[in-house]
Amino acid sequence: MSATLTAAAPPHVPQPKQHGKPGGFLRHTNIFTGLVTGIVLAALTYIIGSHWFVPWGTQNSTYNQVGFQALIMATFIAWVIGFMAGIGAFAGPIRWMLGHDLTHDDAEYMAGKHQGNWRYFKYTTDHKVVGIQYLVMTMVLFAVGGFLAMMIRTQLGVTWTSVFQPNFYNSIIGTHGIVMVIAMIIVVSGPLGNFIVPIMIGARDMAFPRLNALSFWLLFAAVPPLVANLFMGGIRDGWTVYQPLGAQAPIGMIGYQICIITFAFSTGIASVNLITTIVTMRARGMTWSRVPIFAIGILASSIMGLIWFPMFQFSQIFSMSDLALGTSFFLPTRGGSVWLYENIFWLLGHPEVYVIVVPASAALLELMVVYLRKPLFSYKLAIAGFAGVVGISSLVWVHHMYMTGFAPSVGYPFMLSTELISIPFGFIVLVMLGTIWRGKMWTRLPMLAVFALLFDKVVGGITGVYLSDVPVDQYMHGSMFVVAHFHYMLMGAGLFGAMGAIVYWFPKMTGRMFDEKIGQIGFWTAFLAFQVTFMSMFVAGLQGMPRRVMQFDSAFRVSNWISTIGAYCIVIGMLIFLYALVSSWRSGKVAPGNPWGSKSLEWQTSTPVPLDNFPVLPVVTEDLYNYGIPDPYIETEERLAQDDNEGVVV
């Protein structure tokens, strides 16, 4: 997109008075003050609370337990509040209460001006800093989740003995699940949605920069309670934590619930921010028919996140109050309903899959046009696809509950809606295929990631059609087939797509070129090993192996051995890829402003991106994806038409 630079004289606006040095209180806060305040407040809460609750609790064994769970809940809440206070999240509201408005210097300090790398450890509002923070956070979460996955595969591969205690094994299953779900939800929308989208649409920052910082640091605060659960008895119930099994759990469960509740706040805030940014802050001339498809994808996934994350949050608020406060939303012995929990949980649980897959697909749609040097095939069909997925995703949650027996006849309408969602999803596949069609491909890693994503998405889609069918689900439900299916969707399409997208925007984000030679080795090792691992897991599922078991019938041994070997190879591939990422980031070739010859706005500004992104805000004057030459075959067609007119038989 060619951009126009016009400088208009800014109108005179009366500036607020500067109180003290720019930044004020925030000059003294950073991640370490946050950690200290969080830990101190949590410890104080625990000490004071245990003096208040224990004498009361000793009267009755049930009350004793209830009191203790409530105490742990209060401690974790104190950690979150203390951390956010310590890092300065409440400085803004307090400043307003004191009647001090932000000056321009304050805002620039908060955006991290002249703070070097220290700004990554502070409550920094600049969207580029938040993007990098998210990227590092995602990598940490993947490392944790991947390590847990290897523990699971080790247990399943070592069929002749038992590596872990059953309790601990069940905990690592659940923790692996939820860590990976969180990591996958943020892997595209976090780093790329924050860093790239505002530049891509020609804005100076996100619509709400301070909410942006809030969303990241809430996520940061959410992780320690989750990891702490492993040392507090664990969540032994899988990532879904079905009730009433969850109510039997030790206190580690509270850590999981606080994590989900905090994470849902973080996601909701981030979604509001992204939606507002994309809707209101586009550059002049970027009409709705010129919004890059990646921004559309982020918009779609933010809408789903905003609508459905509260369901997840409420399922956990209710079950935490069952556990800690003695309510009985989900406890059948006291009049609650297990089906209520399952319904509320899956109301998020299924849209969440699309929250993960849609941004990754949109990112690859965005980048493939650059490597193919041709416009996106049927841009409007792609938008229709995303819109359809957003719409129908809210109507399919019961396909996780076909076998619960809560209403057998409900299988018919939900089978219909679930299979309907494959139609808009197919639109995206057609757009990808149509864009590849007749394109002269520049074989870079992000482009090849499109091939990986498409293959995995079709495998995941076809196996998904099996599972959407009630009779087939009667065999497959709760088996390893389901596990393999959603790994194809989330890891195969989501993660490999996200890896391609991160490599594509890596030069813009870090100012260095990605080392593709090593990166390709890692990527394809991981991709092939992924096929081995999960194809073999499909076989285990077909043979009738239930999921979340630590030991199993000897019939499933061979497929599990193959899966475990494959899983170790995935780790080797991922480590090679990680090495390429880290070494390129530290000492890669310095990247030019536009290494791919792209026409979209984010590549038109300089690298590294200046604090306010563009010296002058750009104006979009061309249509989207203006690549390509006139189709030579159209000329053939015209010749044919001419022949017809002249009555010549060819």
Binding site: S2, T6, R236, P244, L245, Q248, G285, P332, S337, V338, R373, K374, P375, F377, K380, L381, M403, T404, G405, L416, E419, L420, S422, I423, G426, G434, W437, R438, G439, K440, M441, W442, F451, F455, V458, V465, Y466, D469, V470, V472, Q474, Y475, H477, G478, Q543, G544, P546, V549, W596, Q604, T621, E622, D623, Y627, P632, Y633, E637, L640, A641, D644
Partner: protein, 292 residues
């Protein structure tokens, strides 16, 4: 960064004023050098999915399935779905493989190297024929799968309640009620019609409809008779129902398919499908008062 444009320039692609007849255009399209290889790859993969469908069933049948009409219907559905999804897989794979591997004249070509290539590809912004054909094909496919699934669901629902022709008629055996109770981490089976005998393995006569009343005393379990294709959650505080008619003698697996705590992995037992006489003997041994 070019010169200033106040109003954006809009470049509309010109519509050909006089397009040749559709048959001519089809013929011209098929004569393009890249079309034939893609069509051939498509056809090969589609055909390969037909034997592949039996491979899928081979894995399912490793331990004696199908042992009931329900399981037969499930396997039929899997067979049909695998074959039907073949073309979709084939189109995707054909385009991917051709784009990745094809070389030489007429292929789409590839560029390697560090510098961005400035040779552009044909600017195909859309193609209404392809879009309409794709939407129509996927919609028809989805409609077929939904209708097939609904008919199958109705069939297995009926099968679950003993409407199999082979077991109907004047001498048809009386259905047997079985109360299934899940608890951490064992299954208990109670036969109310046979004098409330209870057992921890399920013993049932062949060709007799079974009704299961499934419940749980603690957490959610999932009652799964693998080779018979029966699955229903055991929920605390509620009774769920399902049924099946075993049609094959032998011993099959019962597993719990919903994580239920510490020893979920070991919450397994067996179902023995025996003849009516053997069943009557077993009931007598167990101290049952009345046989079916």
């Amino acid at each position: 960064m070019s010169e200033t444009h106040v109003t954006p320039e809009v470049e509309e692609p010109e519509e050909p004023t006089n397009r040749p007849a559709p048959t001519r255009r089809m013929k011209e399209w098929f004569s393009r050098p890249y079309v034939r290889p893609i069509v051939i790859i498509c056809a090969v993969i589609t055909l390969a999915f037909i034997p592949f469908a039996w491979v899928v069933l081979y894995f399912m049948n490793g331990s004696g399935a199908p042992a009931s009409p329900t399981m037969t219907e499930i396997e039929k559905t899997i067979l049909v779905f695998t074959i039907v999804s073949g073309p979709l897989m084939a189109i995707t794979l054909a385009v991917l493989l051709y784009s990745l591997l094809a070389r030489g004249k007429g292929s789409w070509g590839r560029v390697h190297g560090e510098e961005p290539p400035m040779q552009d590809s044909p600017a195909i912004r859309t193609n209404s024929t392809a879009v309409i054909a794709w939407i129509a094909a996927t919609s028809v496919l989805a409609a077929f799968l939904v209708v097939w699934g609904m008919i199958e669901l109705a069939t297995i629902t009926k099968d679950s309640y003993g409407s199999i022709a082979s077991v109907q008629g004047p001498n048809a055996p009386k259905p047997i009620d079985i109360n299934v109770t899940g608890q951490q981490w064992v299954w208990t089976f109670q036969y109310p019609d046979q004098g409330n005998i209870s057992a921890d393995t399920l013993v049932v006569p062949i060709n007799t409809p079974l009704y299961f009343n499934v419940t749980s005393v603690d957490v959610v379990h999932d009652f799964w008779i693998v080779e018979l294709g029966v699955k229903i959650d055991a929920n605390p505080g509620a009774v769920t129902n399902t049924g099946v008619t075993p049609t094959k003698l032998g011993t099959f697996n019962i597993r719990c398919a919903e994580l239920c705590g510490l020893h979920h992995a070991y919450m397994e037992t067996k179902i023995q499908v025996v003849t009516q006489d053997q069943f009557n003997n077993w009931v007598r041994e167990m101290g049952g008062s009345r046989t079916a």
